[in-house]
């Protein structure tokens, strides 16, 4: 999705938008640290959002593929693929953590 698609999405009054954040290796390979994203009515779970992002192709498809160990947090709490997402939520995608 390029910026014009994003603007069209945001312009739809009947859909809310979420803030999507990317960290560490994902931030680097996807080339962005955050974006605002309007979700279609049927895409209000983490898994659906991940599918939507994968459909962008290229690095998105590769890095967010089912085989990749991607972690997701919704509103700064670890989430699962079936976790619900609501308008205004902050959804973060990142690799398994390596602190300590």
């Amino acid at each position: 999705m390029d910026s014009s698609d994003l603007e069209k999405g945001l312009a739809r009054a009947d859909t809310g938008a979420v803030t999507v954040l990317y960290f560490a290796r994902l931030r680097e390979v996807l080339g962005r640290d955050s974006e605002r994203l309007a979700l279609p009515a049927d895409a209000w779970t983490v898994g659906a959002l991940r599918d939507l992002l994968r459909a962008r192709g290229g690095a998105w498809e590769l890095e967010l593929g089912a085989a990749k160990p991607v972690r997701v947090a919704v509103n700064q709490t670890m989430a699962r693929m079936d976790t619900r997402v609501s308008p205004g939520d902050e959804v973060a995608f990142f690799p398994p953590v390596t602190g300590g």
């Binding site: 954040l21 960290f23 560490a24 290796r25 160990p69 947090a73 700064q76 709490t77 670890m78 973060a92 990142f94 690799p95 398994p96 953590v97 390596t98 602190g99 300590g100």
Partner: protein, 153 residues
């Protein structure tokens, strides 16, 4: 209870001294993690620690709450550094104060094991072959999992 995510170094002695105020404390257990110069065969010249501001503090808080619910401990301190670090630098500090050593040791190890697998920090290494993100290790997951379904002793 104190949780800090910071670029600056910390003074282990000063942190432990600050925890000694309560006369009921009989044990102080502490762990300090350091930057090593070798990882997976590669020489590490520099390490960069990235975190998720907000969530990182929240995750650490949650881990400490779990430790306090599980063991009868009086105080827990966690410090985790971010930014650029070099071999021999201190990365992480966990200290637990309790009446006796058993719960202090156990809670300290529990906090470290959960921090390694739950707190959003990521390490990137600078090696002679260039930069690389550190991969999560299965042994860390195993270390965290062994606490599940196990009662506090």
């Amino acid at each position: 209870m104190s949780i800090r995510v910071q670029q600056e170094d910390f003074d282990v002695g000063a942190e432990l001294t600050a925890m000694r105020g309560n006369r009921a404390i009989g044990a102080l257990a502490c762990f300090v993690g350091l930057v090593r110069d070798v990882n997976g065969g590669a020489q590490v010249a520099e390490l960069t620690l990235e975190h998720y501001p907000g969530m990182t503090e929240k995750a650490l808080q949650d881990i400490v709450e779990q430790a306090k619910a599980r063991w009868d401990v009086m105080d827990v301190r966690v410090i985790h550094r971010i930014g650029k670090l070099h071999p021999t630098d201190q990365i992480v500090f966990v200290a637990v104060a309790g009446a006796h050593r058993g719960e202090a040791f156990a809670a300290c190890e529990f906090v470290m094991d959960y921090l390694k697998t739950q707190a959003p920090f990521w390490k990137k290494e600078q090696t002679p072959d260039g930069e690389r993100w550190v991969d999560a290790r299965a042994s860390d997951d195993a270390a965290a999992q062994r606490w599940q379904g196990q009662e506090a002793s």
